[in-house]
């Protein structure tokens, strides 16, 4: 399967404007609504050791993170469940409901089916705050590049650093942070599910500028060597932090918990420490 070919087919049929964002956007009176859907299934998406409760949590989290990435407020979440064993239902639903509640929303329905392989599809609808959502498109040369927290912890957990396991198994969608950044007027935003460099490439695709980050500005992960920590931070998948760009003069209002890691440049490349960085990282699913 060539991912680029599939993307081309999707673009042709549903239109390029729908293939670049974390959510579909549609207007309603003076407000905007966002909607998104994510498929996860056992073999590909749930690392060994995850409980069913965590699987439910994760399936809600991926969708809530997409809504967070638009700076929107999640209003409703639906869960379609293809169950391989009926005794898994309760824990999965409870995990999904707990994640929804932690983000100020709740499960409002779904669909239930039997399936050979456990398959979960969560779909969510969110409302814009004050008629504006933040898109992947919008960065301008000179903007600063920011992230909402340390990167690479989920990948570290996958590699056996068990102190980071909850970042892998129970990731926190950055819903509040996304809304605050939207309010602060960031110029573009997305969530980093497949690694920072991969996400910068996604940003590049949606904009007409380039991205230059400085690996020394990535927060280090305690208990892991500096070199490995930077590698995880640049290329590790599974993080739920937000990646955004912001005009320097707005930096004061974006809050203390965010980290500035680079700058938007004219040249159409992704630079890490001044050197072009290839797209690599997680590629197990693709937004269409």
């Amino acid at each position: 399967v060539d991912e680029q070919d599939l993307k081309k087919v999707v673009r042709e049929i549903i239109g390029p404007e729908h293939t670049l964002e974390d959510c579909a956007v549609f207007s309603y009176g003076d407000e905007l609504l966002v909607a998104t859907t994510d498929m996860l299934h056992e073999r590909t998406d749930f690392p060994p050791g995850m409980t069913d409760w965590q699987i439910g949590w994760m399936s809600a989290a991926v969708t809530l993170s997409d809504i967070a990435a638009m700076g929107a407020r999640p209003e409703v979440l639906l869960l379609a469940i293809g169950l391989d064993r009926s005794d898994r239902l309760r824990d999965i639903l409870e995990g999904a409901q707990a994640c929804c509640r932690s983000c100020g929303t709740s499960l409002a329905g779904g669909d239930l089916d039997s399936h050979q392989e456990l398959t979960l599809v969560s779909s969510g609808v969110g409302f814009s705050m004050g008629g504006r959502v933040v898109r992947r498109r919008g960065a301008q040369p000179g903007d600063l590049i920011g992230i909402t927290g340390p990167l690479g912890r989920a990948q570290a957990a996958l590699d056996g650093y068990r102190q980071y396991e909850r970042y892998l198994f129970e990731p926190t969608p950055k819903v509040k942070e996304g809304q605050l950044l939207a309010k602060a007027g960031v110029s573009s935003m997305m969530d980093i599910s497949d690694g920072l460099v991969s996400s910068l490439w996604d940003m590049l695709e949606a904009n007409s500028c380039g991205y230059s980050v400085d690996s020394e500005k990535l927060p280090l992960l305690p208990g892991i060597t500096e070199k490995k920590s930077r590698e995880y931070g640049l290329y590790g998948g599974g993080d739920f932090e937000l990646l955004f760009t912001v005009q320097p003069e707005r930096l004061a209002v974006i809050g203390d918990n965010n980290h500035v890691i680079g700058r938007v440049i004219e040249e159409r490349v992704v630079h890490v420490d001044g050197i072009p960085a290839e797209r690599r990282g997680y590629q197990h699913h693709w937004l269409i």
Copy 2:
């Protein structure tokens, strides 16, 4: 798997108010929004002989039909696709897009993944017309029971009556009809995907009345014996017609294409020709 046990678990965790309708309902200013999701997969939901284009059409149709059943206007449809073979993508997307267009909406995004078994989950959002949606709950004794068209054609096709194949493979969601019925003030509504009697049982569950239908009032299917035609009409699955109840004095405004087939009664039973009818029919998936 005991379906009733699963439903109980769902009701416990997401609340009984979310388990009885075709869509989740939430308010937005003076309007209501509806959202729904449906999982279909190859082994269970796509009869042999269906093309990939029809599989795509069907996956959009089930969700659009749920929105139609609330009397709402579909605004956006998302499709999560778990592909077993990448060369199936184009036809599936084109079929789904064609179905959306036929209902006045379009595909606005989704998710793409690889999967051992072709698995499609469509999710949709709709807007109420004038601040009102029609629910399963709302029928009163004395109301008439109506349907939007002949029943049993999909089941007849499954049984080999090839003249009815397009009702099985390319069902038409009754979106316009649903909106007209909502405007006419019907008291309750749902779509009949798992057979008429099964749907009447679903209605019974949501209301505090009973249902009495007269099998002679079901439109007969040309080319099929009367007995078989009635059997298909009562118990056959796969139809996309709407089932509704309406006060007799509003009958004049519901339009010519609808068929009155019975009456809402006080007694908490489903009667066919005066005899209690057991719940049977398709049960391959369950709304939660």
